[in-house]
Amino acid sequence: MKIIKIAFLSGMLVYCHFFAFAQYKTTDQIIRELQQLQGRHTSLAEFRIIGKSYGGIDLPVILLGENPAEVKPAILLVAGIDGRHISGTQLALKIAAETLNNPDDSIRQALLNHHLYIIPFINPDALSSYFGEMRFERRGNARPTDHDRDGRVDEDPFEDLNRDGLITLMRIADPSGTHIPHPEDERILIQADPSKGEKGKYLVYTEGIDNDKDGRFNEDGLGGVWIDKNFSFDYPAFSEGAGEMAVSEPESRALLDFIYQHPNIHTIITLGPSNNLTKVAAYDEKQATARIMTSPAKADVVAAEWVSALFNRSMATNEAPELPLQRGDFVQTAYFHMGRFSYASQGWWPPEVNLPKDTTQTNEEKVKSDERAKNELNFLRWADREGIDVFVPWQSIQHPDFPGKTVEVGGIRPFAMLNPPVVYLDTVSQYYKKFIRDLLWASPKVELVDATVEQIDKQLFRITVKVINSGLLPTGTGSGDKLRYMPNLKTEIVLTEKQTLLSGKKHYLRGALAPGESVEYSWLIQGSGAVSLSTGSPAAGKATYQTQLK
């Protein structure tokens, strides 16, 4: 009888989760869809493979815009670096598809003079785990790794003890326990706090057995290198998932190569479990001007504040969870080591759900709500409200490592917190398109203004011109100005054989121009005839001016 009930229940669960998540696409499907999109819009899109994952899966990019192969100021949207975040990949694909399929989409106008590059995933090996028979939140690629560095590879993986196809948590009732149920939602476990007079009730581990009997659970299973921990900025050597060394993986190399080869990318937006868009950290002079810069330059903080305001306005909310940037991540490497504006957002997040007010409660009785596990708490409230099944109820099992003890398996379903049912991404993609559209319009744009030609003598002329950034974003970052191999803003004069330059340089190079900032150049020329001036950089566009000396 009991067995039947469990079978029935798990059948239901499988059905529910199939229903709820069925629309997330596999990496194969995504590549096919991008190719089809490109096929239908050959003049507006170019599809490329920029590398292969360790596991041999192609890494795609789609370049959107008029004449996509041309060098124009561009924004790069990257998703699927953190393997747990498949919703970002889905969102990126949606943005690409909607942009191409809808000629009236407001983003289309912006793509006449700018480009949008979209990399929907860079860590496909990990994302594929979402579609595996045993679903667990995998962060690393397919490289066999020795996570606990004991000389044995993948010797203590997860086990699906309750056979529901999901790896969740297990809790063991034990007097030496460290965790207690959350006072506001019993499903969630939090660490007992002795300063609050709390005494632990449960030991908590991820679901599995201690295969190598070392007292640790699942410390070395299929894991690979966590791509979003493998980048060069503040690389956390020898920490779990970081790999043997910075930028050791084909995925991280492919992404940095693509960016390095595209100096026209001025801004990179990363969809993943981090957030520097809703709130901008204040300018830190000490860190920003230290030998090793660890905080953005002043002008870049100003730019970020404006972009953040734009983002919050587009999202119609600023309540996104705070998710700090991590050591060795892509987002910081893109700014500090690749010299581009780099913004990160979670993509989708559950809105804050406020419990209905208890009217019987007096003011004295109102206690401050428990802030611990705030994100989980809000997530479960939201899921309950929406009627989405995201929790595997705690369920007793027999565990070989804990004979005679009560062991229960349960917890939030893997992937659930970061990846809602696909339908929830529909509105979000509209928000992001609006944000990206506005950001494309805001791209840096150099112009040559106030050009004057003074005739000093019959064959002697002085040309003066101002280069101005009429965009709303700087022409480059403070970090980019410092990096070698980043193209400068170059203002050049081209003379004919009949002309001699008496003063001024054939070309001037300089770093970033802030929005509205200008710089004046002048040349003293002997001779006559046509003269042409040009200014620009890959990220700020190009402007030219022609005149006759006569």
């Binding site: 190598d212 690389y235 410092k482 990096l483």
Partner: protein, 585 residues
């Protein structure tokens, strides 16, 4: 057919081994008074060590040594350079005494900076000496029984060729041949040096000027000395030979490379604005990729020396001050012992700490080897002015006249291009002259062989100090009831531990395993103090005891409780960096 092939293969193997046996018997020629002590008498591979070699000659040398000593030498490629040249490695070990991959390995490379030629010759000399001396020098024979050498003569072959066959200064190019836009103007390598007079050398440009602040040294015409404050000078210096090719007002500002392959390594890597010479991201270059994969693959590499020039130094890491705490006292003691020995072996060379005594380097190979992989590593900066007259000048590098005197009295003027007039399109009437590219940094020929031998000796002692593990004793004690207690004592006879302290802390190299085979193990433990009976039991896989380290010059003991017969049992010591040994009970 298959069988035939196997038979053929094994016979040829026998022939090869036989060949070695013959070689081990000193020939009559060795015993005559013709042989100079310290040098192989009648080497199978004839070499002159007073010259430099191009890539083809290096490749030929590797091939010849391999075919002359198949029982000792294997040649393999780490991978391809940017211009598709193989990065050759000679693997040298006595193959008849065990798998070379399971002996402590010593890695040598040279010429990562392409203008620093002689690292290649010293690496080649080392390989040559080891192979040619195996039969006649007992110390070398024993060394190759215990250890494996991985010798890469050049890890920057592309720019080595460019240095040799194109006009260059002693300092150019330091990098490889991957083109970059050095000045951020959107063009690549558009303003290189120009060999104005077509003599194959890039030397200095000087011009007479009323505002000049330099004078010619009356004793040594190639030497320019600063004018005294308040006194007029004769010349202004205009840099190395070249034009402003692209008319941007700068001369020679975007030439070959100008990155630094030795700032491309993924330990504390920092970008170009912090570390000059860094590339877009660590291990960007195909050469770095290949080298790093090779070292990661050959996990037995426990020691390394990377040959550079100039200055007469053995440098240990770290490259930067913030990594100094990663060197424990015990690790430093190992470096100190080897470094001090080096000072003895090579007069005029000093043992120094890179960040403290020279300069800061982020992303250098030395840190990747030592801190990234836990390999005891030195960078050898070859050549020093001490070599010129057997003493260090009391004056600084730019004040003393050693190189000019050496040129005059020992090279008879071969070191410098004499000043000659030239009409420069931008500078007008100038003169060009100065040191030839192979002077100053690279050894003059007659000093090269001695330097090669002395450096090799230092390298060999460093390699000799790598762990040598022996199973000292296996004790059996009958516990009654069919149980036996087996205690194995393993000794590391050398200075270098199987794991540096930094390695232990970060678990870079897997633990050493001491296992017992063919016995029914009930329990296993590490004996922490045999006299006082203190042990630490290992419950998981007791037959394979894990040890974080086998320290230098010390013993470890492990113990098993086994049931039943122990007659066929054997103990194996399996250490990634310490080698593999086994012994039957």
């Amino acid at each position: 057919m298959k069988i035939k092939r196997i038979i053929f293969a094994s016979t040829s193997w026998l022939l090869f081994s036989f060949g070695i046996v013959i070689a081990q018997t000193p020939t009559a020629e060795d015993l005559t008074g013709l042989r100079a002590i310290g040098s192989p008498a009648n080497p199978k591979v004839k070499m002159s060590w007073n010259r430099y070699h191009n890539y083809q000659q290096i490749t030929d040398f590797c091939r010849q040594l391999t075919s002359a000593y198949p029982g000792l030498v294997t040649m393999e490629s780490m991978g391809k350079s940017f211009e598709n040249r193989d990065l050759w490695v000679l693997v040298i070990s006595d193959k008849s005494t065990g798998d070379p991959g399971k002996k402590p390995g010593f890695y040598i490379d040279g010429n990562i900076h392409s203008n620093e030629l002689q690292g290649s010759e010293i690496a080649m000399y080392t390989a040559w000496y080891l192979a040619e001396s195996f039969a006649s020098v007992k110390f070398i024979r024993e060394l190759l029984q215990d250890k494996t050498f991985y010798i890469a003569p050049t890890v920057n072959p592309d720019a080595r060729e460019y240095f040799i066959y194109h006009p260059n200064t002693p300092n150019s190019p330091r990098s490889g041949m991957v083109p970059f836009d050095d000045d951020g103007d959107g063009k690549v390598d558009e303003d290189k040096y120009n060999d104005l007079d077509g003599d194959g050398n890039i030397v200095m440009m000087r011009r007479k000027s009323p505002a000049g602040r330099w004078n010619q040294d009356p004793d040594f015409p190639n030497r320019m000395v600063p004018a005294k404050p308040g006194e007029p000078g004769t010349y202004e210096l205009l840099g190395y030979e070249g034009y402003d090719n692209d008319g941007d007002g700068l001369v020679n500002e975007d030439g070959i490379g100008s990155y630094d392959p030795n700032r491309d390594w993924a330990w504390n890597w920092q970008p170009s604005y912090i570390q000059y010479g860094a590339l877009p991201y660590p291990a960007y270059l195909p050469e770095t990729q290949a080298m790093k994969e090779y070292v990661l693959k050959n996990k037995n590499i426990a020691g390394a020396q990377l040959y550079h020039n100039y200055g007469g130094m053995f440098l240990r890491g770290p490259g930067v001050a913030e990594d100094a705490p990663l060197y424990s006292q015990a690790d430093i003691q190992v470096y100190d012992a080897i470094g001090k020995l080096g000072e003895k072996i090579i007069p005029g060379y000093n043992y120094l700490v890179l960040y403290k005594d020279l300069y800061s380097v982020y992303g250098g190979a030395i840190d990747w080897f030592s801190l990234g992989r836990g390999i005891f590593t030195f960078t050898n900066e070859l050549m020093t002015s001490y070599k010129l007259f057997g003493q260090s000048s009391k004056e600084g590098r730019w004040q003393n006249t050693d190189f000019y005197e050496f040129d005059k009295y020992l090279l008879f003027g071969d070191g410098y291009v004499e000043w000659k007039p030239f009409k420069h399109p931008q500078f007008g009437d100038i003169e060009i002259g100065g040191p030839k590219k192979n002077y100053i940094r690279n050894h003059p020929g007659f000093l090269l062989e001695e330097e090669a031998h002395r450096n090799m000796a230092f390298t060999i002692f460093h390699a000799w100090y790598m762990p040598k593990l022996t199973i000292q004793e296996i004790k059996q004690k009958d516990l009654g009831g069919g149980l036996t207690e087996i205690t194995a004592t393993v000794l590391n006879e050398r200075l270098i531990p199987t794991h540096s302290d930094h390695d232990i802390k970060n678990k870079i190299t897997r633990p050493d395993f001491i296992r017992i085979k063919n016995a029914s193990v009930l329990a296993g433990m590490v004996v922490e103090n045999e006299d006082l009976g203190i042990t630490r039991e290992q419950k998981f896989r007791p037959e394979e005891i894990e040890l974080a380290n086998i320290p230098g010059m010390s013993m470890v003991k492990v113990r098993w409780i086994v049931k039943g017969k122990t007659g066929k049992a054997a103990v194996e010591v399996d250490s990634e960096k310490g080698g593999f040994i086994s012994r039957e009970l």
